[in-house]
């Protein structure tokens, strides 16, 4: 148990030292457009993120995206599910960033109304969390990342989920 604690402490020290010792300055842009495979949007989403730089190492971001599960409803009419992932993220690091996030997905999805049949749109909320890693090469506008994104579906049951992200800074 003691040995495990020491290992965790050492690992944390190495990661923290590496992040703090990043001497190169990465360019700071205020916005990102990114595509996320899986992640808090479900099976994939297109997102916009506004970045607020707090200091050399810390930044925050607000994110909103769009996703869908299907375009046509079961009557074969154009009637897509509309899924909007919203989140606030915190980043620590310069080139290699540790990401922590919290958000909600607002789902306006179509299902059959059991009482009278026709498609009905219903609104549901799903809480999501993000623990991830982002990489932004010095002087580059491209970011990429990988994250663990557990989702509290219907705010009642947990789904273990993950994401790959690639984005463009501007």
């Amino acid at each position: 148990m003691r040995l495990k604690t020491i290992y965790i402490f050492l690992a944390f020290q190495i990661i923290a030292n590496k992040a703090l010792s990043q001497k190169e300055n990465t360019l700071h842009y205020k916005h990102i457009v990114h595509l996320e495979a899986a992640g808090i949007g479900g099976y994939g989403s297109l997102n916009f993120e506004r970045i607020i730089k707090l200091n050399e190492l810390f930044s925050l971001s607000a994110r909103i995206g769009f996703s869908t599960n299907r375009i046509y409803d079961y009557n074969n009419k154009f009637n897509p599910d509309l899924l909007f992932p919203i989140a606030i993220n915190g980043f620590f690091g310069k080139v290699h960033k540790v990401q922590l996030g919290l958000g909600q997905l607002v789902a306006f999805s179509i299902k059959a109304n059991i009482l009278n049949g026709p498609p009905a749109r219903e609104t549901n909320f799903h809480t999501n969390f993000t623990l991830g890693y982002r990489y932004q090469k010095q002087d580059s506008r491209i970011i990429s990342g990988i994250s663990y994104t557990p989702i509290l579906e219907y705010n009642s049951s947990i789904r273990h989920w993950g994401a790959f992200t690639i984005g463009y800074l501007f």
Partner: protein
Amino acid sequence: MKNIFFLLAVVMILFSCRKKEFEINNLNGNKITVLGHGGMGIGSIYPMNSLESILNCLNLGADGTEIDVQMTKDGVLIAYHDETFDESTNLSGKAHTKTWDEIKGTRYTSPIYSNYEVISLDDLFQNISNPDEYIYFFDIKLYDANQNADFFNKFNSALIEIIDKYNLLESVYVEFRNESSIIALQEIRPDIRQFIFNEFEYGLSLAEQYNISGITISLNELSKERVELLHSRGIMIATFNTHSNKRNIEAIEYNVDFIQTDRLKHLIKILKPK
């Protein structure tokens, strides 16, 4: 030279677009009934046997659908495929150990962020306009329910109630897996048509012994000889496991009577062109 290549390309495109025509020879009026597999089948965005999946299947123009049927502890028939709810919903346990009140509102876990629910057969048929215009294969899944005489009485009463309530006598084929189930229903309602869903040899012997309408058999177990043998003895064939366009065509070429497909749009396109 260039023109010849162009001409050849045009001819090739025209030939590739030509629709294949099938000459069907079976016991179903020389036509194949197009059925969805639990609605839109495996691989659809809709969970199998959900209301959305079945309505989508019928709205696309299928002749009907296969539906997996199980009974709850309090005698309600539900449309559900798996042995336990843990496999594909947010509930745990088995259907026959829970009451309908405990199951009602159970959500399928896939696709993510959807809210498709497990439904009862009563809810399902209430939502199909003119339900007697379609064909349904009830794949009866008893799993390890206590299959004594009381159980069969209860199950058959629930089944008959649904069939009579929605006037489905001419629309339904009930698929059982074993002899005792077949006998139990035949004794009280010989007019309800049955299929046996089991291995070929066993299915054939039961179909002949109890004068059953047909056999449901996986495409993997079919051959031309088997189809001809069954047809020569007046036994119809329903097949499943057609999860690709190629396998749909393979099933058609066997001249089966019913196909429960996972590639519904393709089968409708080739068998029921507008």
